[in-house]
């Protein structure tokens, strides 16, 4: 053990002795304190005990008073309840006291009506019998020689007595506890004192000594550490001072030695590195003769083993230098020159093995020596690189010159401040370079330039991307110019953007040219519009009257033929006008699609069925094959798709010889979420198209062969228009064809699908079908997927089925029969024996159509006849035509010659529908419509539908008129379109009038017709609805009562789905609102809505049961 450690132990031992003495003294003081405190406490604790007993009594008293007051105020005027409550509260109170000993007293006794109800503490039976206790005071009593302190409380209203007590023994225990506590505190205090003294001595004496000893011991380990601690004792401070001075002296000596050694080492290392350098050739010369060379020297001049061998042949390294202009070797005193111009670059050229090397040569005196060191650095590659850069630079300069000749170049810093512009920039902008540099780039921005453009530009280039676009800029003289620009960020080696460069082309002339072209286009469109109007108006007359004449039975055969020719020629002319208009729209980029939801099955079927008659005339086997998956709604441009379909089918029928075949099919080939891909195909067994002509057929005014045009007619625009429409719809019209065998025109487009309970689906899904003695697995499986029930039936009783598919003709069930195979009854629907699935679907659809049409026909004319129509038309020919058309339909109408007359007539009479020509003298159709609407508003009249009637058929016309009118008909008026309008608006007007009644009236047949199902089937659906709706309504009511918004939403949605089927429109609207609000978590009165729904449903049920 070291001496200093022993000393420390000794020191500590002394301290321990001192501490021991102090400890003993503390214990003595503690005991004396204990005795003294014990004496004092006895008196004090008695006083405290009395106080505690009193406090407990007061606390209980206050609680009881509070409880009683509460009960008294609440039930005081009702004795029965009061008594019960008092007993209950008293019971509760006593229970609480028992379980929660919150009192300071040692014992407690509670008596109610002199019976003990609760107690704790020492069990003193005699205590119970005490009778001389004074209410609300403390009494002393001696029981079994033990002194008791008792606090007595009597609470009259509860008939309760409460006694808190403490015994003398408890008191003594208390005193002892208190005294022990005091003793413990004294001992703890003494120990604390001892610890403080110990720590103080340790800090003052032991710690400095230990530190000094430790520092001295470190010197031995060459760890020169100063003593930094500040000491309170002077002697220690002196020791510290001399010790630190000694450390300084040692350190200085060490530093000097180290420095010398380091210098020596460095020098040694330097020479070592020099001579072993692999990069440079080192030659050490005494001024005249080579003394030493490094490894690189031998490696370069491979033929010398060592220096001696070299010196045998050469005295100077310069012997190897190429003798060329510009190199140092030529100088006679090259070494001297090198030494004198250390900052200049000298080069030498050396040829080795027929290769040329360039070296940089430097020379300097070696330190502490008169020797010279010559260093040759190989810069051959560097020189080559330098030359390459120079060449590149020249090339860049050439580029720059070329760019400057025609491109506007500018650079800005990251803040958009111009840092560079080329001459072209100045030339185009009209500014001097000095006027631009340092200015923000927006100095040339034209006020018309859109701020969003610059926002996007900055976002792009700040993200490190290249921006391309066009600007409208402003010259110094204020005139505008247009540029097409590419702006790219320039980055430093760290990839940070430091500048932006803009390369622009002046496109002002181009813009001007486009503007002029657009103006010309507009003029052309206006011309076409006017021409279209002017040609359509007379055509309207021709087509209308020829149609009427053709319906006449009194016409001689020859005249009839002539009129047929006039009619078909006029139709062809109209088609040509339509095609020319379409092409002009497409060319001018005005072909816009009007996408809205529609039922594809109906739309495609209707479009395709128009050609049935023509196909039949040519004895063409014409098939329509539609995918069952298309029963939902799709969103696309129905009109344009129909246009393409019609064109393709029309062509197919036109180019297919008699007894040929044309198949139109639409298949859903892909479905992902609400997107579906449809494939449209029109396949024929027509003349086909030669391979070499197939590319050209989509071009305008082109047919496969000129002879085709002569033989089959047509403008050659149809396919071109169709191809362009398909392209606009996102597809591509393609053809597969073989000359003489036929063609298939097809395209695929993507549409958005909206799943909807369509009428067709509803009708199909409720059908019960019997396959009468048909064991056809394919048919069975297919039907099972799409109808409610399908069964193979052998029995002849087929009454319970909605539809029977049979190979046998069943006369009894002919109204609900579909024949599979041969069919001799034209009134019965049939499926060919070699059917495909779409044939089944077609047959089912046909069956549903037939059922509906049976229900529909009788009422149609009757409701039309009830209505009165106002027609505003200035053209007399058109007036006559409209008269003829309306007379034929038995419609009641009044004709106004202009807008003013129309408004006047409207004010005098009540009309159900108005046809309004747009171009009229005095007041045009739009003006008249506005006046009628204003009149309706002022007089609180229901709105009468107004249909625009015009020969204007240009782009945007429809949208323009629909801003004011309810619908739109183009002249010449097509009967189908007229029927559509009449059916839609006249029946609607009936519904509107019905709505004014207190309850809506429901017509079973009308609903069945709307639903598209036969009566028997409708009854079945209705019964199911009536069976379930009450239950649904109860569920809705419950959820409203519980205010469960999620459930309200779900039930309202469910009921809405059911009632929509029956067109209970008022209820649908209310349920829609409930559903929407509940989904949005809107708190509101749903019950009133529920009641409305309930009332209307009752009305519906009553009417349905009654009819």
């Amino acid at each position: 053990m070291k001496k200093w450690a022993k000393a420390e132990l000794k020191q500590q031992s002394l301290l321990s002795k001192l501490m021991g003495f102090l400890g003993i003294m503390s214990v003595i003081i503690g005991i004396l304190t204990f005795v003294y405190v014990h004496e004092i406490n006895e008196e004090q604790i008695e006083k405290t005990t009395r106080q505690e007993l009193r406090t407990d009594a007061i606390m209980v008293s206050q609680q009881l008073m509070l409880l009683y007051r509460t009960i008294f105020y609440a039930y005081g005027d009702n004795p029965d309840i009061f008594k019960r409550v008092v007993e209950h509260v008293r019971y509760k109170f006593i229970k609480d006291i028992r379980s929660n000993r919150l009192f300071k007293s040692q014992g407690l006794l509670i008596k109610v009506d002199n019976k003990i109800q609760a107690m704790y503490g020492q069990n003193i039976p005699q205590l119970f019998a005490l009778h001389n206790l004074k209410n609300d005071s403390i009494t002393e009593a001696t029981i079994n020689g033990e002194k008791y302190y008792l606090s007595y409380l009597r609470f009259k209203p509860f008939h309760m007595e409460v006694i808190f007590y403490d015994t003398e023994e408890m008191l003594e225990n208390q005193i002892l506890k208190e005294s022990m506590k005091t003793l413990a505190v004294v001992i703890l205090f003494t120990m604390l004192l001892l610890t403080i003294v110990f720590l103080f001595i340790k800090r003052l004496v032991l710690a400095p000594i230990s530190e000094i000893i430790e520092s001295i011991s470190k010197i031995a380990k060459k760890n020169y550490q100063y003593i930094t601690q500040k000491y309170d004792i002077v002697e220690f401070e002196l020791v510290k001072k001399y010790f630190n001075a000694m450390i300084d002296a040692i350190k200085e000596r060490e530093r000097k030695i180290h420095s010398s050694l380091k210098e020596l080492s460095n020098r040694e290392l330097f020479y070592y590195d020099l001579l072993n350098s692999q990069d440079d050739i080192i030659i050490v010369n005494d001024g005249k003769k080579i003394e030493h060379v490094n490894t690189a020297f031998y490696e370069f001049f491979q033929k010398y083993k060592d220096l001696d061998e070299f010196l045998k042949e050469h005295q100077c390294v310069c012997d190897f230098f190429e003798k060329e202009e510009g190199f140092v070797y030529k100088k006679e005193h090259w070494l001297e020159e090198l030494l004198q111009t250390p900052n200049e670059i000298h080069k030498v050229k050396i040829k080795m093995n027929s290769q040329e090397y360039i070296f940089k040569i430097t020379a300097r005196y070696l330190e502490y020596s008169d020797r010279i060191i010559v260093i040759l650095t190989n810069i051959t590659e560097l020189e080559k690189e330098k030359n390459r850069v120079l060449e590149l630079n020249t090339l860049l300069e050439d580029y720059k010159k070329a760019i400057d000749a025609g491109i506007i170049v500018s650079k800005t810093d990251t803040q958009g401040i111009i840092t560079y512009v080329n001459d072209e920039f100045c030339k185009v902008s009209g500014y001097q370079r000095e006027e631009l540099i340092g200015k923000p780039h927006n100095i040339i921005h034209h006020p018309d330039a859109k701020p969003e453009l610059f926002k996007t530009l900055w976002e792009t280039i700040k993200a490190g991307k290249i921006w391309k676009g066009e600007f409208k800029n402003k010259r110094k003289n204020g005139k505008a110019y247009h540029v097409k620009s590419i702006i790219a960020p320039l980055k430093n080696k760290d990839g940070e953007i430091i500048e932006y460069i803009s390369l622009s082309e002046d496109i002002t002339d181009l813009i001007e040219a486009i503007k002029k072209a657009k103006e010309a286009e507009q003029v052309k469109m206006l011309f076409l519009s006017n021409m279209s109007h002017e040609i359509r108006t007379p055509l309207n007359g021709i087509l209308g009257f020829t149609e009427l004449l053709l319906k006449s039975n009194n016409l001689p055969e020859r005249e009839k033929r002539y009129i047929t020719t006039i009619h078909s020629s006029s139709q062809a002319l109209l088609q040509i006008i339509n095609d020319v208009l379409d092409i002009s729209k497409i060319e001018s980029g005005h072909l816009s699609l009007e996408k809205k939801p529609f039922k594809p099955i109906c739309a495609f079927k209707q479009a395709a069925e128009l050609f049935k008659a023509r196909a039949k005339e040519k004895h063409i086997n014409y098939k329509i094959d539609l995918d069952f998956h298309l029963t939902g709604l799709i969103i696309s441009d129905e009109f344009r798709i129909r246009q393409v379909i019609s064109n393709l089918i029309g062509n197919a029928i036109k180019f297919t010889p008699e007894n040929g075949e044309v198949i139109f099919s639409v298949k859903q080939i892909q479905r992902q979420g609400d997107k579906a891909k449809l494939r449209f195909s029109v396949k024929d067994t027509g003349i086909g198209i030669p391979k070499d002509k197939q590319k050209d057929i989509f071009k305008e005014f082109t047919q496969a062969d000129n002879s085709v045009s002569r033989k089959y007619g047509g403008t050659g625009l149809g396919l071109s228009i169709s191809a362009k429409i398909v392209k606009a719809l996102g597809g591509e019209l393609k053809v597969k064809s073989e000359e003489g065998k036929g063609s298939e025109f097809y395209f695929c487009i993507e549409v958005e699908v909206q799943d909807d309970d369509t009428q067709l689906q509803t009708s199909l899904e409720t059908l019960n079908i019997a396959l009468y003695k048909i064991h056809d697995k394919q048919l069975f499986e297919y039907l099972r997927k799409i109808v409610h029930l399908v069964e193979i039936v052998e029995s002849d009783n087929l009454d319970n089925y909605d539809l029977i598919i049979s190979r046998e003709y069943l006369d009894k069930y002919k109204d609900k029969l579909i024949l599979l195979g041969e069919n001799n009854d034209n009134n019965v629907i049939s499926i060919a024996e070699n059917y495909d699935t779409s044939d089944i679907l077609n047959a089912l659809m046909e069956f549903i159509d037939k059922s509906v049409s049976l229900v529909q026909t009788p009422n149609k004319t009757s409701f039309l006849l009830k209505n009165k129509i106002l027609i505003a038309e200035d053209n007399e020919v058109n007036q006559e035509l409209i008269k003829a058309l309306f007379d034929e339909k038995g419609l009641r109408y009044v004709i106004a010659n202009n807008g003013v007359e129309a408004v006047e007539l409207y004010k005098k009479e009540k009309f159900d529908l108005v046809f309004m020509d747009v171009n009229m003298p005095e007041l045009d159709g739009v003006g008249a419509t506005q006046q009628i609407k204003q009149y309706e508003k002022e007089n609180n009249l229901p709105h009468t539908p107004i249909i625009a009637l015009t020969a204007n058929a240009m782009q945007g016309d429809k949208e323009k008129f629909l801003q004011y009118m309810d619908d739109y008909l183009t002249k010449p008026i097509m009967e189908d379109e007229l029927n559509r309008v009449l059916n839609q608006y006249l029946s609607a007007s009936i519904e509107i009038h019905n709505n004014t009644e207190e309850f809506t009236s429901y017509d079973k047949e009308q609903i069945a017709r709307k639903l598209g199902v036969p009566s028997a089937l409708f009854d079945k659906i209705l019964n199911k609805f009536l069976e379930t709706i009450d239950e649904y309504m109860d569920e809705l009511k419950n959820s409203i009562e519980k205010n469960d918004l999620e459930q309200i939403y779900q039930h309202a949605h469910k009921i809405k789905g059911s009632v929509m089927t029956f067109h209970i429109d008022e209820v649908v609207e209310i349920l829609k609102n409930m559903e929407q609000d509940a989904r949005d978590k809107k708190e509101r009165d749903y019950m009133s809505d529920y009641k409305k729904v309930q009332a209307e449903l009752e009305n519906f049920k009553t009417q349905m049961k009654g009819s």
Binding site: M65, Y68, F72, G76, D77, P79, F82, F155, K156, P157
Partner: protein, 263 residues
């Protein structure tokens, strides 16, 4: 168009300022009395304005200053007002639930050892409502005097309201209290009545004869007597009906109050 009825009132009417008892907040009282004041306006053709004074003292001061024309007061506050200001006239008195225009005070106890006032001693605790209450010092002292006792010789304390008097009387033995007979009746199962006072007039409508003339007073009296007494829109105080205040209705109580000074 109903406002047209009030148009003449707005233009020509005399403004009569009415103040209720300050027993609730101003807004509550205004709400309670608004229909009554509208009724009176309709009946008399005068405009009745609601005046609120938060304290009895303030109320009496305003009456004396002519800022109040009509005020509802209990017997003791009325007598206090009358002693300071002679232009007062009780015009109608409101009936209580028993259809009586008066009430009595009763001495009660829950101590089985106390059956009459003679049974009390110096340790007996006496609980009273408040100084201005007729069943406070005035009637208690009156009943003590009838028994040749002096309330001041006993330990009495005010506890606030009638129910509290009953409450404290039931809590303590050797305790008595003085409450309205209607309250004593309500809590009869806890307590017993050991003495009953004279009849004390109920709340009356007091007219300021300095600001209102005989014609005004007659119109107002008639309107009150015709008022639909059961209307729930009326304030509670007049819901049991009113009578024209009898001429010497306050004489006895006035005499007693002059003899006994409330401490």
């Amino acid at each position: 168009m109903r406002w047209i009825i009030f148009l003449p009132i707005l233009i020509f009417a005399k403004v009569i300022k009415f103040a209720p008892l300050p027993i609730d907040t101003e807004s509550h009282l205004y709400k309670q009395y608004k229909p009554l004041l509208q009724y009176l306006s309709q009946q008399t053709g005068d405009k009745f304005e609601f005046v609120y004074a938060p304290t009895y003292t303030g109320l009496l001061e305003k009456f004396k200053n002519g800022q109040i024309d009509l005020v509802i007061l209990g017997a003791l506050p009325y007598l206090k007002l009358k002693s300071q200001f002679s232009y007062t006239k009780p015009i109608v008195t409101f009936l209580n639930a028993s259809k009586k225009p008066y009430y009595t005070c009763q001495i009660i106890t829950s101590d089985k050892h106390i059956n009459t006032l003679d049974d009390i001693n110096k340790q007996t605790k006496i609980f009273l409502t408040n100084k201005l209450s007729t069943c406070g010092y005035l009637m208690t002292q009156y009943m003590f005097k009838r028994k040749h006792k002096n309330l001041d010789d006993y330990h009495y304390q005010y506890v606030g309201n009638h129910i509290d008097v009953v409450f404290y009387t039931t809590v303590y033995n050797n305790a008595i209290g003085d409450v309205k007979s209607s309250i004593a009746e309500k809590y009869r199962h806890f307590i017993k009545v050991i003495d009953t006072s004279i009849h004390i007039p109920s709340f009356s409508l007091i007219a300021n004869t300095q600001t209102l003339n005989n014609n005004d007073i007659t119109k107002i009296t008639t309107s009150f007597l015709k008022a639909p007494i059961h209307s729930t829109t009326n304030p509670k105080i007049i819901q049991h009906g009113v009578i024209k205040t009898p001429k010497h209705f306050y004489k006895l109580i006035e005499q007693i109050s002059q003899e006994i000074k409330v401490k």
